[in-house]
Amino acid sequence: MDGAAVRLGGRTIWKDVDLTIGAGEYVALLGPNGAGKSTLLKAVLGVQPLSAGTVTVLGRRVRRGNDAIGYLPQRRWFDPDLRVRGIDLVRLGLDGSHWGLPLRRRRDWRRRVDDVIDLVGAGAYAHRSIGELSGGEQQRLLIAQALVTGASVLLLDEPLESLDLNNQQAISGLVRRVCREQGVTVLLVAHDVNPVLPHLDQVVYVARTRALSGRPADVIRTDTLTSLYEAPVEVLRTSDGRLLVVGQQETMSFHPQG
């Protein structure tokens, strides 16, 4: 991103954003509610027009419908009555933007769908209605959907939100595996940074119309976080050397938004 800015409804969301993310990096996008984290993700996706600057992904200006980018929007649960199978949802990620009916049986496409479902470990329930599945199961299938085009960049908007602790760890482990083993660049918006913190290569902070980036150890510090959130935040180091971010209850438990 080079000098990028976004204005929405006359308000500057962020401006002068310069960011470089290397291929295969695992990057978290952090910041207070409403700071424009999701907007930044959408700008990288090409859905959100910029008011200034440019965004380049894999050497090209961004545009909608890019097969190289997989996207998982901010939490959406499927209606329990939605009668569509998980595997259909994954398949739509591959060919859903094509016109006409899928009349020709594309064996290679079917294999890609099966492969990516195996990769996320959703084989056991991919043929059930998506609405009947648990949050963690739905999330795995949605990550499969984001990966199915052979994406080399994965944009995840709060993928751990409203999951229980086990599923948070499982999904965060899955994302790390995809990043390390498949060489996929991951840009992840997190509300709670702790589950992903040990794996990150880079942290991007969005706050007060600015975005700063750096290595986790440089940015995740009590003084930087406190000034970014404009509220007391403390960074602790556990006995095995992991960092842990602790904020005041009322500042850290807002409902997820942007």
Partner: protein, 281 residues
């Protein structure tokens, strides 16, 4: 056996029955296919309103000495565009849309009241709009319906896959380059045209028998999208054919038989699914 065959042969003897079966068939296919997406998108209320708008539409068509179908099309498509452009869709969910739909519904019923008065007491004509006139469809109306339905089916086939994507997963569909908003407006117009045609068969009041019930029943049976779409069409055809046949040999109206079949089938499949779920659980 021979008597059954000759009885069925009798069905096709009269010209009005030929027209009824032909129109019924094309409309059933269209309603079944469009209805699948209506149910999937949770737009039953919009579809209901479009059918109610058909009532003043058909009355206006007759009042200005055009055909009822012309009036139906103008009013239904107009209402569809209104709902499509006023509803913000995507982010706002269906809440905003349902308020717009409700307002349009009230206005259309008011217009219906006015036109019924202007009709100067022709109860027969009003009855026809409310409950359909399948047994009295002219050759030209049959031809127009078939042509319109063919166009609708071609359009629906073309947009089916992105529409499915946009219906269940609009955010990702948008990111993948699907024109989500344009599709949602185009789809409402398709519903409007399908409704305008279905009104001729079962009337504005019983529209759900062909537009919603087959699709809802199909989705009780399968969660495979394309199988569900096909099954919805098959059920819609079955309700129409059986309804027309039974009605021919009885003194009771077609609309009653079609809706009863649709209701019975939906209820049975729903109970079966509940029972199976309980056994599995």
């Amino acid at each position: 056996m021979t008597s059954a065959a000759s009885l069925l042969g009798e069905l096709f003897e009269f010209h009005f029955m030929q027209n009824a079966l032909l129109t019924g068939t094309v409309v059933a296919v269209l309603a079944g296919a469009v209805g699948y997406f209506v149910v999937l998108r949770g737009q039953s209320f919009a579809a209901h309103t479009l059918s109610q708008v058909g009532f003043p539409g058909a009355a206006a068509g007759v009042l200005v000495h055009a055909s009822p179908l012309a009036g139906l099309l103008v009013f239904c498509v107009g209402a569809a565009l209104g709902i499509g452009f006023a509803g913000r869709g995507l982010d706002a969910g269906r809440r905003d849309e349902s308020a717009v739909v409700g307002t349009i519904l009230a206005f259309s019923l008011g217009l219906g009241l006015l036109f019924a008065r202007l009709y100067a007491g022709s109860v027969q004509g009003i009855y026809a709009f409310l409950f359909g006139t399948i047994l009295g469809i002219s050759d030209s109306a049959t031809a127009t319906t078939a042509a319109l339905a063919a166009v609708c089916l071609v359009v629906l086939t073309a947009i089916a896959r992105p529409l499915l994507f946009a219906s269940i997963d609009p955010d990702v569909a948008q990111a993948r380059g699907v024109p989500v908003r344009a599709l949602s407006i185009a789809f409402l117009v398709l519903v409007a045209v399908a409704v305008a045609q279905t009104v001729q068969i079962v009337g504005t009041l019983l529209i759900f028998a062909l537009l919603i019930a087959p699709a809802a029943a199909a989705q009780q049976v399968t969660s495979r999208p394309w199988v569900g779409l096909g099954l919805s069409v098959v059920l819609s055809l079955a309700f129409t054919w059986v309804g027309l046949t039974v009605a021919y040999f009885s003194i009771y109206p077609v609309g009653f038989f079609i809706t009863t079949l649709a209701f019975g089938c939906y209820l049975m499949l729903r109970l079966l699914r509940e029972a199976r779920r309980r056994v599995l659980a």
